[in-house]
Assembly symmetry: C2
Homo-oligomer: 275 residues x 2
């Protein structure tokens, strides 16, 4: 049973709510931590200065920032623009005092089917933004995504690969373990242990895998409603030394259509029962 003071919610989980209103809701309902999206703050025209004040007033902690990634998605010619955009996300994280940034490996290079070359291209771009993050003292959290997102989002699809990438990339980058993306993996326990040995577990995301899953992107489930053995994986994480929050990150057409205050209450309930 997880306690509410271990809860964080990723902003995308309550996608329909404007940022200022969302911080008000979290404060009122006792959600202690948020991971904001840089794109959302821009969409809602909230400067980092204003955001910092809102966060302070609400007494809410920042768990992380979304996100760095998408290196090869615009092709080789788009490389520099992607890197520059990622540097802006790093600047953003510094300005709001976030401890880490969700970092995706990037998918296939645009118009290419070459998975091996795309891995090299993406790792090379990531090395460049990592150098910048190191200078500014922000930790990148490489988050392996489910293999169904390999073409468009992440050629890194397992904690094993994330560990391998971290070893190649060196200091300043760790791993985000999202149970939705990784629960199916026979090496998960062993690779969480390996990540723990190197103090590499930067953050943890929870949700659930629904059966059936009706949409490849927007049908994640609430904890307890699917097939993931969340307490078992949580135990592996704690055995590996993880002491951070469990961040609820749910992309869902169904939940986005609910009254969001009631939905947050539901998240709190499921979090306490099933994480």
């Amino acid at each position: 049973m997880a306690s509410l003071n271990q809860l964080a919610i990723n902003q995308i989980t309550n996608d329909p709510v404007e940022t200022t209103a969302l911080l008000g809701m979290y404060s009122k309902l006792g959600v202690p931590s948020i991971s904001p999206w840089r794109s959302k703050l821009e969409e809602h025209k909230i400067s980092t200065g204003v955001f910092n004040k809102l966060i302070d007033d609400a007494g809410i902690e920042i768990n992380g920032v979304c996100f760095c990634g998408s290196y090869g998605s615009q092709g080789k010619a788009g490389r520099q623009a992607q890197i520059d955009d990622n540097k802006k996300t790093i600047d953003f994280a510094v300005e709001i005092g976030a401890p880490s940034i969700v970092t995706l490996a990037g998918g296939l290079l645009a118009d290419s089917k070459d998975l091996d070359y795309s891995r090299k291209f993406n790792m090379d771009a990531l090395a460049e933004i990592l150098e910048y993050a190191r200078q500014l003292g922000v930790t990148l959290g490489l988050e392996p995504l489910h293999p169904m997102y390999a073409p468009d989002w992440s050629v890194v699809v397992s904690i094993k690969e994330a560990n391998d990438w971290c070893e190649q990339l060196g200091e300043g980058i760790g791993i985000i373990v999202d149970m939705y993306h990784t629960w199916w993996d026979v090496t998960l326990e062993e690779e969480i242990r390996r990540a723990g040995k190197h103090n590499r577990i930067v953050a943890v995301h929870v949700s659930d895998w629904l059966v059936p899953t009706k949409d490849i992107l927007l049908d994640r489930g609430l904890m307890g409603d699917g097939v993931i053995d969340i307490p078992k994986i949580r135990q592996w994480l704690e055995d590996a030394g993880f002491r951070g929050r469990y961040e609820v990150e749910i992309f869902s057409n169904e939940f986005w259509s609910l009254d969001q205050e009631k939905y947050i209450e539901l998240i709190k309930d499921k979090f306490q029962k099933f994480v």
Copy 2:
């Protein structure tokens, strides 16, 4: 470029067509090989004796049979019924002279989230039907499925795991490499090589991964329409000693709604250009 004499089509690819009519179409259009589904022949009330005559008359070869699996899906109490049903599929394969049977590892045990126990339960049941298959001289082809099917169909999600299972299970079981299920895997080349060393590659399935994928089950693409580097994986298979057919297996609401003769012509065209 693949030649048409290397083509096989899995019966599910032309799901709307009744079996007798389908064999007529394949004969007329020069499709040299089919993998029938036992359930389809039962649905169409075609005995194995009649099927054998139809196949002979049409001059079509059998590439394999679908399928063995689903061991724990009815819970522990359903174990024996599942095994008995699998034995019927093995009998069916013997009666039609099929060289191998598509064999799925099975998903999570009913009402359980215990992936590790489900793996053990399924492997144990599989060992029992493998013993029966050995007695009858039919080869089982363990087919790893994409991790998105782990809950309901297959806890084995990579060629690496399939190789490991084959080593534990012993003689009489090999591997079916379906590119749709395995293309994303960083260990694919190495594990195909490993499978080849042990003469374990029983069959190969082709289709393509579409971006975006609109349905988790029924939106596979025609070869060349997605992101899978089919010729590269084909080269790995041939380097590993595979000399069999490339079987087109496509579950697709979109293609099932087409005129099926025109669709078969399209398959032949894409097969020659992109496999």
